[in-house]
């Protein structure tokens, strides 16, 4: 369909010099443009042509595209045409270039092959950092945001040991287990050669969510790669997180759930992994811990348990790294504090519970717990105390 260049929305002579990625990014910013619609459109036409046709509001006769757009495609086209008038691909591209973000369009050489082979591939992948790191073995370390200190410590340890064994940790950068896994991997990189982390986020790469994680975002982007299918400026809307979980599952060779409540985001990641035939493993937890209810349920379904990083490495068909005993760097607790340490245990315990277990009153317990916290044997959060394994921060 021949059109004068001047008619193309946001077009003009300058726009013709833009790469196809710029138009793909602009398409991703249209309202109601979900992953399925975007990849169908981009598969049918490269970015520039697709943008021109959508801006013109022409009907799309391609069977695959019509199927992806569904019955209400006319209304959708009208809406897109209105929205396209407000979007200037030149400005979109300029922001992307200024932010130092890479764009990989489905079908292009830069697009990660593992995603291209997926059943629901994202149409566009925005990345910050090096996308080449998506080449090596990858394990998703996921879990609840409301985790126990033990769960966070396990994720940290697992992330670190897997990264040190050359396995990239894939996670969602949420607070709780996700963040702990990546922090462990980053710590292992600080200690020596280790696989780079891969972070997959739900919002645009310039919208840090949760806000407190800005530092972790920077660290993952500079040491590994941060991926998102959401255009720049996209808010962390609810529907984006299940979509993000599907990319995590698609990228991983294996999914490890460290702690999960009975229903939650991690369980959605497990479903997505099952749809792709990717193995899921789970870390066993106490039957009394609500944060382990989901993971224990996974084990009951017959998934393999993860008790250390070697369990994961064996499942991946890699050589187990062997137990690397970490030097116990913490000072030995005072002899008098040892019964208190044993009474604290690996589950969060309140002062009253520790008091019942030891028979000590507060005047003895409080100083002992403070000494143990100081030397790193016990972690305190609010009024709850929990034992900490060696080597955790």
């Amino acid at each position: 369909m021949a059109r004068a260049l001047g008619d193309t929305p946001g077009g003009g002579a300058a726009a013709s010099g833009l790469p196809a990625e710029a138009f793909a990014a602009a398409l991703a910013g249209l309202p109601g443009m979900g992953p399925a619609r975007l990849s169908a459109i981009l598969r049918a036409e490269p970015g520039a042509l697709a943008w021109e046709r959508i801006g013109g509001g022409a009907e799309w006769r391609d069977a695959e595209v019509s199927a992806a757009l569904g019955a209400r495609s006319d209304a959708l086209f009208a809406r897109w045409r209105r929205a396209a008038r407000q979007i200037d691909p030149i400005a979109v591209w300029q922001t992307i270039v200024d932010e130092g973000i890479g764009v990989a369009v489905i079908g292009s050489a830069a697009y990660p092959p593992v995603l291209a082979a997926d059943i629901e591939p994202p149409g566009v992948v925005f990345h910050r950092g090096s996308p080449d790191v998506v080449a090596g073995p990858r394990v998703a370390v996921v879990g609840t945001r409301q985790c126990s200190a033990t769960g966070a410590a396990i994720a940290w340890e697992l992330g670190g040991n897997l990264a040190a064994a050359g396995v990239s940790v894939v996670s969602g950068l949420a607070s709780g287990i996700d963040a702990a896994g990546h922090r462990g991997a980053l710590a292992a990189m600080g200690d020596g050669a280790a696989a780079p982390p891969i972070g997959v986020v739900g919002s645009g790469l310039d919208v840090v969510y949760p806000r407190g994680q800005a530092e972790l975002w920077r660290a993952v982007a500079s040491h590994g790669v941060l991926l998102s299918e959401a255009p720049l400026g996209a808010r962390p809307e609810r529907w984006r997180f299940p979509a993000r979980n599907r990319i995590i599952a698609a990228l991983a060779d294996l999914v490890v759930v460290v702690e999960s409540h009975r229903a939650g985001g991690s369980m959605h990641t497990v479903d997505e992994a099952d749809r792709r035939g990717i193995d899921v493993m789970a870390v066993p937890g106490s039957i009394r811990a609500p944060a382990s209810a989901g993971t224990n349920g996974l084990l009951a379904e017959g998934r393999a348990p993860v008790c250390c990083a070697d369990d994961v490495l064996v499942a991946l068909g890699l050589r187990p790294a062997g137990r690397r005993p970490r030097g116990e760097t913490r000072p030995r607790p005072d002899a008098g504090d040892v019964p208190v340490l044993e009474a604290v245990g690996w589950q969060p315990a309140s002062l009253d519970q520790i008091g019942v277990r030891t028979g000590h009153d507060l005047a003895v317990l409080a100083p002992a717990l403070d000494r143990l916290c100081e030397s790193g044997w016990v972690a305190r959060r609010g009024g709850w105390y929990e034992r900490v394994a060696g080597g955790t921060p």
């Binding site: 519970q353 019942v356 403070d370």
Partner: protein
Amino acid sequence: MLASVASATLLGVEGRPVRVEVHVSKGLPGFTVVGLPDTTCREARDRVRAALMSSHLAWPNARVTVNLAPPGMRKVGAGLDLAIAVALLVASEQLPPTSCEGRAFVGELGLDGSVRAVPGALPLIDALADPEVVVPAGCAVEAQLIGRHVIRPVGRLEDLVSALVGRGPWPDPPEPVVLPPPAPGPDLADVRGQPAARFALEVAAAGGHHLLLVGPPGAGKTMLARRLAGLLPDLNPSQALETTCIHSAAGQPLPPGGLIRRPPLRAPHHGASAVSLVGGGSGSMQPGEVSLAHNGVLFLDEVGEFEPLVLDNLRQPLEEGVIRVARAAAKVTFPARVLLVGAMNPCPCGEGGPPGGCRCSGTARARYARRLSGPLLDRFDLRVEVGRPDVAELLDSSAGEATIEVAARVALARDAAAERNVSANVELPAWRLDDMAPLDRAATRLVERALRAGRLTGRGLGGVRRVARTIADLAGHSGPLGFEHVSTALALRADPLCLDWRVA
């Protein structure tokens, strides 16, 4: 004829003397009250008229002007009825002018000529300088408490008139009541387990530190809080009078002896409005719950469910011990020195005790936590997680320590505080902490680490030192504070998990 009689009216919780002047002159019959009476006070005209007629006295068929001096101050309530009636009788020459010399009158009149009790009799009589005060028989016990006046309780206007003209005797003053010991409140022995929370109660009572109890429903927060007032020492005479004045002014029922000798416990519902909590009101200035809890315990159950704006009204009274309420009509100061106890759930679902224990989202927790503003949270030096007691503890038949034993230790700790010229350690000013609560070396290091870790703020440090001082006092330790005292104080200051919602 002119007559002038002494009486008093209430302003907030204080009495103010009022002169009731009545002028009876020839002219068109009428009855005017001037001098800023409120509606109840203006209606005195009809009550007084009916009461005089029921008592076989004459209503002057003349022009009557009643002036309530000072005329610029608002007069509230029906307490001036008796004084108006007496002044009218003198001005209309039914009583001799001497009958109101050196004598003040307080009381409300019924249409049948009975003299009825008025709220706030205690502060009203306290404001009077006259040596003799005529009061309603219903207020006699309360009126005796001041002790400066000859109290003449009367039940009927007729009896008063016959006593004033010398026809009959004054009614007998009431028998001095033999004070029964105050009824004991709920006992601490009923609480099973909960050692940390029990100790926190003891420390709160001994040092006057505000206490926040955080725990799931059914953990016993309310049960614990209701036992705190029992641990506090008896009110001293001046405190007892202050507290009784407030309760009297608010029209609250007083104990049989008239005097409130035990620290009150007030537990307003979380639907309370700002005015009901701190006091005020459009017509008469009424004391709020904080003032009714003066010298006692203010218990805010489900503190997270109070309107945040209502709660923030407590910040100034908690700091200064008084509330200044200003309205267009008047400005009043209510005393409000309370021990604040708050109870709340750890998160919206209530089950979020231990980390990872509940499914409330971070935003839901944050929204819940924001209901308690930071400055208000800062006022709580004791923050204790209350868990559900273990089954073994619940079934344990051996009772916990009884209130009377704990109260004895609290009294000793209060004595130690009294030697520092404060009634409780919470009142120690910041500049005296270095003298009164010095830290030994190990304790200094512990505090330093807590400050570095962000677990403690500069303001919180003062609170921790005061609490540590109380803990040392309870243990009978008088020297510098050691590691164990500060460590225990820090353990009793656990930030509720919902306030630590940004979990990394």
